[in-house]
């Protein structure tokens, strides 16, 4: 066969396969609504295309199949026949056969054996199917493609690429990024002045962009995945004799190709469960006052970096109490524990390993059978699973998964000389080792006391069975928050780095250990295992929702016995003095790179979450460090940061010992004096002047006023008003011009401030102020504000 012919066949195979995939869903929809002309046309177009190509390529069997189907469908199109389930079954069977043949063609195999004649015979209508044989329209010959043949125009131009090629490009880009990092290290090693840095930066920013675009190219509409279940629902529903309507709502949601493959199985399981156990038989439904046809709805929404996939059915639902009873019977938990769970937590018990018992397994699936596997895979992917159900009304299961697996913001940690990656989404805070941390043994587990809460903690190396460099009490603790909400400390030898890592799947036998989700490659080309936090936690003795209820109970009891002391965090400041801050003001403890700190003119600032917040407690020595630990304080409105030079601990604060010493307050903690950081003063400073709500009008048409003066006016607590007629507390007139002055003096301004560009100190003619006499300007602005407030009060 000439090479050109090969290309044509490859094109045909590709087109046929795509059309087939798109058709899967259409067919079932069409069966539901046989008069849906558009769907019929789509199916017709496919068989017509296949028929046309077969003749050309000489595939007689394929031609006979498509020809017969085309004939049958064309009768339907002409209104000579109705599409009933028998016809749909027959057409489905033929499309399956065509699909197999297309695969054979691609693989260059002979067609597999099969009785095409039986398939074709199934297309022939039984007598009762014929409608109006005397249909006068029947004789009409028309263009077999009709208006449907017109392809939609004005679409985006697209090309078709083999997926493997795309994957190769992705891995090529990853290679380039790694090679780029290597280059960066060598440029660094050469020292400055080589002139390569700028070029390297350019290359690396292009690479970053390239990676983003190529990742986008791998996105696929989730509707493709969803439609692939239509057939399953249809087949399963007819097998079980439960009529089911299947609704899909996916909008424009797109998801990484890799992720599609990973959620395919769990979703399949959930849909199977819904039909098998959720939806009742038609007669039961009618008896319960529901429509005979059950409804299953598959939906997808994108929120940020997550995709929420919902599977809702209107079946019999689940009774949370029954689930709990069964869980108790199966020994998953004790009745005591079950009593403390919320209804939602009880439903979640169906995901506990060991919940389902063999006698519940039907030929298809048991409710609960494999639910632990479904939840585990959701969690492994960095997602979650939640279950809602109303007995008698149906269930709704939500599967949350990240948009892509490929790039995960992570921190890398060191344990026993080895580097591991932890997804940043789990990290609550990082606690540096210090002698003041207090550890206790509670219930056979080591606990660390942080801000008044006991958190279980254990050594990562110990759980992994490797030798740690330091004992737990001297390790850095990464506080990790599990999906269930419980927080535990993971002891490590140190933090290596943080950044975005490309996490790749690793051998099943390694995943099977339950400790890892995949593997990442670090900048130096070394492999780092990505930890399965849920698995590590379980191995460390911390697990599942039930445990959490136990902890919650324990801490509630502990809380009752405690005296109502204020709790505080103590630390060493940059001035080497021991300080304390009340815990309630602390939002969190973070570690930032020194580059996030700005010591420029004015107050020190910290870049956090893309905003600037005032930073206290630092001096110039901060620039000598690579990283700074910072307490983020929050008063409900604003944030202020306070830098620590060392050590964190918590202490109970007895405010009766507080003494004012000069400008600061000192309290006694464990008999030693500690400077109490006054949050009020910090926030007062951050809030600038008073927000007196005073209004000011200035000629915004003037560039100097807009760019130079307006910020100053606003910084003094004024609100700038544009409306020329609104009453204001202060009106500013620049270089008093005939046109402005009478208007302003006549307007409803309590005070008029005149500014001149003539250089003069103090108030000049007519009380005008030189525009760069900053002190006088500020004084005038503040005076007017005080006057306005006095006026308000009067």
């Amino acid at each position: 066969m000439p090479p050109a012919m090969d290309d044509l066949i490859a094109d045909f195979v590709c087109e046929a396969r795509e059309m087939l995939e798109a058709l899967e869903g259409e067919l079932v929809e069409w069966e539901r609504d046989p008069d849906d002309r558009e769907r019929l046309d789509a199916i017709f177009r496919f068989v017509h295309t296949v028929k046309g190509n077969c003749g050309f390529f000489d595939f007689p069997r394929l031609e006979a199949l498509s020809h017969a189907t085309e004939d049958a469908l064309s009768e339907v199109r002409k209104g000579e026949r109705r599409a009933d389930s028998r016809l749909v079954d027959a057409v489905l069977a033929i499309l399956d056969r065509i699909g197999e043949m297309v695969e054979d063609i691609e693989a260059g195999r002979e067609f597999s054996e099969g009785d095409d004649a039986a398939l074709i015979a199934a297309l022939v209508p039984s007598l009762s199917d014929a409608v109006g044989e005397a249909n006068p329209q029947a004789a009409r010959t028309d263009n077999p493609l009709g208006e449907a043949a017109a392809r939609p125009t004005g679409q985006l131009r697209t090309v078709r690429l083999p997926v493997q090629l795309l994957d190769r490009v992705v891995s090529g880009v990853s290679d380039m990024i790694l090679a780029g990092n290597e280059l960066a290290r060598q440029i660094d090693a050469c020292g400055g002045g080589s002139g390569l840095e700028a070029s390297y930066k350019r290359v690396s920013s292009i690479l970053t962009d390239l990676r983003v675009s190529i990742m986008q190219a791998r996105m696929q509409p989730i509707s493709l995945l969803f439609s692939s279940y239509r057939r399953l629902v249809r087949d399963l529903a007819s097998e079980l004799g439960k009529p089911v309507a299947f609704e899909i709502e996916s909008g424009q949601v797109e998801i990484d190709r890799e992720m599609i493959e990973l959620v395919r199985e769990p979703l399949l399981h959930l849909i199977r469960n819904a039909i098998d156990h959720g939806i009742e038989l038609a007669e039961e439904r009618l008896a319960a006052g529901k429509p005979a046809i059950g409804n299953i709805r598959l939906s997808a929404r994108q929120t940020g970096n997550q995709i929420r996939i919902g599977i809702a059915d209107d079946g019999r639902g689940m009774n949370a109490d029954r689930v709990a009873e069964r869980a108790i019977a199966a020994g998953v938990l004790t009745a005591e524990q079950a009593r403390k769970l919320s209804p939602e937590q009880r439903l979640a018990l169906i995901c506990e390993p060991g919940f389902s018992t063999a006698d519940e397994v039907t030929q298809l699936s048991g409710r609960g059978v494999g639910m632990d596997a479904v939840r585990n895979s959701a969690v492994r992917l960095g997602g979650s699973l939640t279950i809602h159900s109303t007995p008698g009304a149906g269930s709704r299961i939500i599967l949350n998964v990240p948009l892509t697996l490929s790039i995960v913001p992570s921190i890398t940690v060191r344990a026993a000389g080895q580097v591991f990656a932890i997804p940043r989404s789990y990290v609550d805070e990082i606690v540096r080792p210090n002698k003041d941390l207090s550890f206790h043994n509670v219930g056979g587990m080591r606990h660390v006391l942080l801000r008044g809460h006991e958190h279980p903690c254990f050594d990562l190396a110990g759980v992994l069975g490797i030798e740690s460099e330091k004992p737990l009490d001297r390790q850095t603790l990464v506080m990790l928050k599990l999906i269930s909400g419980s927080v535990f400390g993971l002891g490590i030898d140190g933090i290596e780095d943080h950044g975005e890592l490309v996490i790749k799947p690793v051998a099943p036998r390694i995943i099977g250990t339950g400790f890892y989700v995949g593997v990442a490659q670090l900048d130096d080309g070394q492999a780092a295992l990505a930890l399965d936090i849920a698995g590590v936690a379980a191995a460390g003795g911390i697990s599942s929702d039930i445990q959490r209820a136990r902890f919650a109970e324990a801490s509630a009891q502990a809380g009752e016995g405690e005296a109502q002391l204020e709790s505080a965090i103590t630390f060493d400041g940059f001035d080497k003095r021991r300080k304390a801050i009340v815990t309630s003001a602390v939002e969190r403890l973070i570690e930032v790179g020194a580059e996030a700190v700005s010591l420029g003119a004015g107050e020190p600032q910290l870049v956090f979450d893309q905003t600037l917040i005032p930073l206290h407690g630092v001096d110039a020595s901060v620039l000598e460090r690579k990283k700074v630990s910072v307490l983020l304080l929050h008063d409900g409105e604003r944030r202020v940061a306070y830098a620590m030079s060392d050590a964190v601990d918590t202490a109970a604060l007895d405010l009766t010992t507080a003494t004012r010493a000069g400008s600061s307050t000192v309290v006694l903690i464990d008999g030693a004096p500690v400077e109490l950081v006054e949050c009020h003063a910090l926030f007062a400073a951050a809030s600038g002047g008073f927000d007196g709500g005073s209004t000011c009008r200035l000629p915004l048409g003037d560039r100097w006023c807009r760019d130079f003066l307006k910020p100053l006016v606003e910084a003094r607590g004024y609100q700038v008003v544009e409306d020329r007629d609104a009453p204001v507390d202060l009106a500013i007139v620049v270089d008093e011009r005939e046109a402005d002055a009478p208007a302003e003096s006549a307007s409803q301004a309590a005070t008029v401030l005149k500014i001149t560009s003539r250089r003069k100190r103090g108030r000049g003619a007519g009380g005008s102020i030189y525009r760069y006499d900053r002190d006088a300007l500020v004084a005038a602005l503040d005076d007017a504000q005080v006057a306005a407030q006095l006026g308000d009060a009067a």
Binding site: T513, G525, A527
Partner: protein, 144 residues
């Protein structure tokens, strides 16, 4: 049907493996261990941007430890994951057709499970092994 076979040295024995399965042969440098993994998984290594799971071939087959150090590895793909199977030496490529094992040839326990057949070469009969059995690891681990 005659297929190319790669002759390698595993646990001191010369063994043939189907050459078409082997993407490349690498020299093992740094191996990152995988704590808690089955013993036959020696660790991870990287080949450009790919991470390979390094398999201690002798251990996977349940053979006694060899005195020779396995410093090379065969890069093999299975189920979308890359593996590096440790071998002590890579000799040459021969072509031959594996024949069923003859009753007069006695195999040590470890080799039995992975044996695909025997192939006659100039240097005598060589055992041909199934690489997927190596990747699957020893039996007792599978049950666990």
């Amino acid at each position: 049907m005659s297929a190319p076979l790669l002759i390698v040295k595993i646990a001191g024995d010369r063994i043939a493996v189907p050459a078409e399965r082997v993407h490349s042969v690498i020299e093992l440098s740094r191996i990152v261990p995988v704590p808690r993994a089955p013993r036959f998984i020696a660790g991870l290594t990287t080949l450009r941007s790919r991470t390979l799971t390094v398999i201690d071939t002798a251990c996977a087959l349940g053979l006694p430890e060899s005195t020779e150090i396995a410093e090379f590895a065969l890069v093999v793909e299975s189920d979308g994951c890359g593996y590096a199977l440790m071998v002590e030496a890579v000799e040459n490529v021969e072509s031959g057709e594996p024949a069923p094992c003859r009753p007069d040839v006695k195999l040590a326990d470890g080799w039995k499970r992975a044996a695909q057949g025997l192939v006659e070469t100039e240097a005598g009969s060589l055992l041909v092994i199934d690489l997927d059995m190596v990747i699957a690891g020893p039996l007792q681990d599978q049950a666990a």
